[in-house]
């Protein structure tokens, strides 16, 4: 089941790429699609940030991850590279747990 999910997701992502380079231009040039598709990553990434920071399973929680995200936010505002943002957040969480 787990592999089936991984492979289905991989195939779906590839088919979307292939559709872009293969389908007749007018299909994807529909203004509704042009407008909606760029909103999708914004909404999903924001939802991922919120849920992975403030929840464990089905419970809303406030723990060291919130502080780690505060540090990540500062790093992002300072335009730090990707890896610096991730490592700063992880290091903050690790340090706060040691205290």
């Amino acid at each position: 089941m787990f592999w089936a999910g991984l492979l289905t997701a991989s195939v779906a992502c590839y088919v979307l790429k292939l559709a872009g380079v293969s389908l007749p231009q007018r299909w994807l040039q529909n203004p509704r699609i042009q407008r909606t598709v760029p909103l999708m990553p914004v909404a999903l990434l924001a939802a991922l940030v919120a849920t992975q920071t403030f929840s464990t399973g089905r419970h809303l929680v406030l723990d060291v991850r919130a502080a780690a995200m505060g540090v990540a936010l500062i790093a992002v505002l300072l335009r730090a590279p990707f890896l610096v943002v991730v490592v700063a957040a992880a290091a903050t969480a690790a340090l706060l747990r040691l205290l």
């Binding site: 195939v11 790429k17 872009g20 380079v21 999708m40 914004v42 089905r58 890896l83 943002v85 747990r97």
Partner: protein, 237 residues
Amino acid sequence: MATPRPLRPFGPPPRQAGRTRRGVIRDALGIGIASGAYAVSFGAIATTAGLSLIQTTSLSLLMFTGASQFALVGVIGAGGSVWAGAATAALLGSRNALYGLRLSGLLNVRGLRKFVAAHFVIDETTAMAIARDDEREARFAFWATGIALFTLWNLGTLIGALATHALSNPKVLGLDAAPPAAFLALLAPRLRSREPIAIALGAGAVALLVLPFVPAGIPLLIVAVLVALLGLRSIKK
């Protein structure tokens, strides 16, 4: 993968072919190395989420689109089903279809090469290709970036996964705080006007609001449906 800001022109406009190509290769390697470092964190996060070495490396080989890969392992790591993760990954991958659309006229690929080119259609290759004035330079930039990125992305994933396998308890290193930070870093370049900021705040709030009532991963799909409805509706105005 969105280490550089999407669709932003890179480098100087083409002048002399030889010099430009060297510049393109340098840019492509720079992007590849940055993404390779980012892939190390993907390998670490996927392993912490419980994926085996072969599952983690397969994702980078077969899916090869960073945000979707992070989303899939993020949902699984948070206790969601693999199918909720798969749906989120596919929804995030939908933007690549629009990139492909922009690139299809430029690349002008047919036959087998089209199937290889399609795999390389991601944020970085699109940004590198559409920044060129000349079609041949654009094609060169696309392939150079695609090859550099694919190689270093998979190498980085392998290193991250192997290193994390060697750890007894990845939580001690704060690796559970890494996924949301990764998502924030991917989100930030997309928040450059009021509308996306409003959508991001709304999406985060809705996801937390419905979270206690549905299985893990499902809040993301609810958000996706709502934003699709919003996008399709507001065009009527």
